[in-house]
């Protein structure tokens, strides 16, 4: 493990990039995911169809294919961006499909009476979704969302394939110099495991605090 300590500054740099990828992609995916969920439960048939098509498409495409398509393909049609930005946008779009799916199952788990009560009080579709349904739906999907964040963290490694130098890429470079793959990759694996268990711990606590007794 001392080989990692010798390269601590580089490891730190890689970790920062990995955390940037994780946090920024999750925020993007959360916003997009809520939007797609709103479309999928709306009374407008066209919006429902578009939302369903979005989820269906991005759940069935490998993330690596999307990253490669965006990184090598988009410059050909005049869209150029930093690799890090490309990675964040693509991962956001991809994970939004999973968040939307989780949120929708949360919305479906909210009792029918809640929606009826909201309408009986005269709330509009937007108001009843935002003030009544979503807050309750969110509570039931804390655990699934935690799993999505963990999966997202694991997926940020793929950004390495489009020349983003994250934690794993730094580890690969150190390995080229030091040629001690086992301690290097086990050490990096431990860091990912720590991030994942951190997310699991926080969502576990959150769930216990937010849980509603019906």
């Amino acid at each position: 493990m001392s080989v990692l300590l010798d390269h601590l500054p580089v490891i730190w740099q890689g970790l920062v990039v990995t955390l940037q990828l994780t946090v920024a992609s999750f925020l993007g995916a959360a916003v997009l995911g809520v939007l797609v969920t709103a479309m999928r439960v709306s009374p407008v048939g066209v919006l429902r169809a578009l939302g369903t098509a979005y989820v269906e498409a991005f759940q069935n495409l490998p993330l690596l294919v999307l990253l490669v398509l965006a990184f090598f393909g988009l410059p050909e049609i005049g869209i150029k961006a930093e690799p890090l930005v490309t990675a964040i946008v693509v991962i956001s779009i991809y994970e939004a499909a999973y968040i939307a799916e989780a949120l929708r199952s949360g919305v479906n788990s909210v009792g029918k009476g809640q929606g009826e009560a909201a309408r009986a009080l005269g709330l509009t579709f937007r108001q009843s979704l935002w003030y009544v349904i979503l807050p309750q739906a969110l509570r039931t999907v804390v655990q699934p969302l935690g799993n999505i964040i963990i999966a997202l963290t694991m997926n940020t490694l793929l950004a390495g394939a489009i020349s983003v130098v994250d934690l794993t890429e730094e580890a690969k470079r150190i390995n080229l110099v030091e040629a001690q793959p086992i301690p290097i990759f086990v050490g990096v694996g431990l860091i990912y495991a720590l991030i994942a268990s951190g997310v699991g711990f926080v969502t576990g606590r959150l769930e216990r605090r937010l849980v509603m007794v019906r």
């Binding site: 439960v41 709306s42 009374p43 407008v44 048939g45 066209v46 919006l47 578009l50 269906e56 498409a57 759940q59 069935n60 495409l61 490998p62 993330l63 690596l64 294919v65 999307l66 490669v68 398509l69 090598f72 393909g73 988009l74 050909e76 049609i77 005049g78 869209i79 919305v107 479906n108 909210v110 029918k112 809640q114 929606g115 309408r119 579709f125 009843s128 979704l129 349904i133 963990i150 963290t153 694991m154 997926n155 490694l157 793929l158 390495g160 394939a161 794993t168 580890a171 690969k172 390995n175 040629a179 793959p181 086992i182 990759f185 990096v188 694996g189 990912y192 495991a193 994942a196 268990s197």
Partner: protein
């Protein structure tokens, strides 16, 4: 048509829905138009840039890639399901020395990225004299990581079978092993079939990591083809559509299975 969030629409709501429909269609069309404009402005819509994908040799090459993808996915799925079943049974076992290592395996592998496992097989194992063929460099790490997921699916399935089934099996004189094999597992297998199919879709998506190990699966074949004929965006769009077609059909299958099992329940 009414649901959780809306009732049968009245005249005003119907007008609003019509407006939202028009806006939604226009927004979708605008996005599509923007994409087409970007393609056209950069000369990527020229017929000769798409023509090659109407010819058989190109498709034969990509279908070869798809075959390798399918091979890797099927072999890895079979191995990880077998390993997953062993782990699930181990985790539910009465014996501590089986339960603890199985649980540890599942919990540890769940928090390790699959790509990191690929790198371990790619860089670390050859150093210790274990240089696997390319196919196994992809299949081994995928199997190791998916076995944990399959183990959890099987465990949930076994736990979902009512206690009375096991008790009845033991009561008629079957041993624990026989009860598991003849009573619990057949019912659990039917119950988890939809989850197994959707996990297999995930596995099929994971085989695109062959891109990293240079195993000639679909995405890597696309890369080779694109660098050969210079049709970058066209090639990757075609590759993406193939993945979409295959995986969407599998996901559809999972939904049909789920509906059927719910109808039986």
């Amino acid at each position: 048509m009414s649901s959780l969030l809306f009732d049968e629409p009245g005249p005003r709501a119907r007008r609003r829905i019509r407006i939202a429909t028009v806006v939604g269609v226009l927004a979708a069309l605008a996005l599509a138009a923007l994409a087409v404009r970007q393609f056209a402005a950069n000369g990527q819509l020229a017929p000769e840039r798409w023509q090659p994908y109407a010819t058989w040799p190109m498709w034969r090459y990509l279908l070869d890639g798809l075959w390798s993808t399918a091979l890797a996915a099927v072999v890895s799925a079979a191995l990880s399901m077998a390993l997953g079943l062993v782990l699930a049974l181990g985790r539910l076992s009465e014996r501590r020395w089986l339960r603890v290592p199985s649980a540890a395996y599942v919990e540890v592998v769940r928090v390790i990225p699959a790509l990191l496992l690929v790198y371990v097989v790619l860089f670390a194992l050859p150093k210790y004299g274990l240089d696997l063929p390319l196919f196994w460099k992809l299949v081994v790490p995928l199997t190791v990581s998916n076995a944990a997921a399959f183990a959890e699916i099987f465990r949930a399935g076994i736990l979902s079978i009512e206690r009375g089934q096991t008790e009845a099996g033991l009561a008629v004189g079957l041993s624990r092993g026989q009860t598991m094999r003849m009573i619990v597992l057949p019912q659990a297998a039917r119950r988890v079939l939809p989850s197994i199919v959707s996990q297999s879709v995930g596995l099929l998506k994971d085989t695109s990591l062959g891109f990293v190990v240079s195993y000639g699966e679909l995405l890597y074949s696309g890369k080779v083809l694109a660098s050969y004929n210079g049709l970058v965006i066209q090639t990757y769009v075609v590759v993406a559509l193939i993945y979409l077609g295959v995986n969407a059909s599998l996901s559809k299958l999972a939904r049909v299975l789920e509906q059927r099992s719910r109808a039986h329940a």
